[in-house]
């Protein structure tokens, strides 16, 4: 009973279904290819020394990237200290206080900031925190990453605050709480799981940034002294080692890639865990 028209429709349906399926499969397989390749190459080059030793001088094999692991964590700490509070408060402003026009401007600017290429933010941090003191520093790297953390934090904070039902705010205010007290004691705690998740994801995103660190934190083959000195970081290490002409350095770059990925994955999983737990309350 299938007329040519129905046959055509059925085959078109089949073709489109196959195309979307293939595309979906391609997305997943790209990720798994990268993961597999990284685990294969990085896993075989990873050793205990990698976590405990400093990089060896050029020409010697072995050594590790202990300074870069600690350096990345220090940079993320700086980014968190500088970026998260600003992002959080701006998110609270947008969700709870903002008027129409100014909120629109803030929201639009935040989206624009989110889209600014990371290398441009690096240049900005360079002129802000490197040029005046005339040397690279962990602080400058923290400024660059901190700026990148802000827009993601703002938008996720705003979104999760908006998801808190309005009747909870009314309940608090009907008990005599001021607006700020209502936000601090009811709304923020109710949204804390989501907000924390957004913050972790923002940090995880900037953990892999290389470009803004190239001319701010610069890099360091030794332990960095204090916050005012250049500091090593995993992404910059990967970049330096991957373009170097030594096989041993290439292997170490793979190992560093794997460690970085594990860091990001762990914080992602942690974020999801926190979110799932906060929803269960």
């Amino acid at each position: 009973m299938s007329s040519p028209r129905i046959l055509w429709r059925k085959s078109l349906n089949f073709v489109m279904l196959t195309l979307t399926g293939v595309a979906a499969f391609a997305v997943v397989s790209v990720l798994f290819l990268i993961l597999g390749y990284l685990i294969w190459n990085g896993g075989t080059s990873l050793s205990w020394n990698f976590f405990t030793q400093l990089p060896k001088p050029v020409g010697e094999t072995g050594g590790g990237m202990a300074n870069a692991i600690v350096g990345s964590l220090k940079l993320l700490f700086l980014a968190a200290v500088m970026g998260l509070p600003v992002g959080l408060l701006a998110g609270v402003y947008l969700a709870e206080f903002g008027g129409k026009t100014f909120s629109f401007i803030v929201r639009y600017t935040t989206d624009l900031l989110n889209g600014v290429p990371s290398i441009v933010i690096g240049i900005f941090a360079y002129s802000l925190a490197v040029l005046p003191v005339k040397h690279f520093s962990a602080l400058a790297g923290g400024v660059a990453l901190g700026i990148m953390v802000i827009p993601i934090t703002v938008r996720s904070t705003e979104e999760f605050l908006r998801a808190v039902p309005g009747n909870m705010r009314e309940a608090a205010m009907a008990l005599g709480a001021s607006k700020w007290k209502t936000i601090a004691t009811v709304v923020l705690p109710a949204a804390s799981g989501g907000i924390l998740t957004g913050m972790l994801l923002a940090l995880a995103r900037v953990a892999g940034e290389t470009a803004p660190l190239l001319f701010t934190a610069f890099g360091n083959r030794f332990w960095s002294q204090g916050w005012g000195q250049p500091i090593a970081s995993l992404p910059v290490m990967i970049y330096t080692y991957a373009v170097a002409p030594y096989d041993d350095w290439h292997r170490q770059a793979w190992a560093a890639g794997l460690v970085l990925l594990a860091l990001v994955l762990l914080s992602n999983l942690g974020a999801r865990f926190i979110l799932a737990r906060s929803k269960a309350v």
């Binding site: 009314e170 008990l175 005599g176 709480a177």
Partner: protein, 286 residues
Amino acid sequence: METAATKEKIVSGAPQPALSVKAFRDPVPMEKITSPTIEHKQRLTISNLNFYYGPKQAVFKLNLKIPTNRVTALIGPSGCGKSTFLRTLNRMNETIRNTRVEGEVLLDGQDIHSLDVVGLRRRVGMVFQRPNPFPKSIYDNVAYGLRINGYKGRLDDLVEHSLRRAALWDEVKDYLKKSAFALSGGQQQRLCIARALAVDPEVLLLDEPCSALDPVTTAKIEELMFQLKDSCTMAIVTHNMQQAARASDFTAFMLDGHLIEHSETSKLFTTPTDPRTEAYITGRFG
């Protein structure tokens, strides 16, 4: 003035079946409203209250007295302004942008608009239509109002006392640290009442507190209101006329932002003076 009076004459003079809906919707001259002769002490005295959402007026020249330690029910069809009116009594409407209130609301002789809003809301508590516990433990929910008001005494005793007053203590005494969301809807609503009672308000405003609850739970809350009368003045907005008849001492009937009739509940439900009240309570509209 004359036309309004004439209309009123026509309305009250017309045989009842001939009443049109349009006639119900006509504004009432204020002097026609019969306020009950109450020898009681008045907790709240509302005079010439107007309320506006932007340019739209929602409450018109409302005069009402809410007697101390009695339950006053506010009835009327949806959108007649009874919730809006209730929310002017603890100035909750101020949280909505672009609203305006005129007139006087006296709480024990003091105009509430000259009072500090935090102190006012401590004295005039509110229970909402949907149970809205905080995502905190049962204990923290009840203690919330005390904590933000800087209460320094023993919280445990007051939490227990409030939960007992809300007839919830026996059901939750072993689960005080559990999340309030673990409670049933009716328990949550009684928790919200306990939370409101914890700061020992003189007036409790109830905005359709039973509309999301089943009949058994509703009965519990009405029983609770009866017990609270010793210590608390209550104003309840309800869509359920049986509830108004059962649970209140005085009833006010509102229509389109106007107070139509206010008297003892037994009187209003048996011998209403205004034909529109009668039409509403007998289910002919609304």
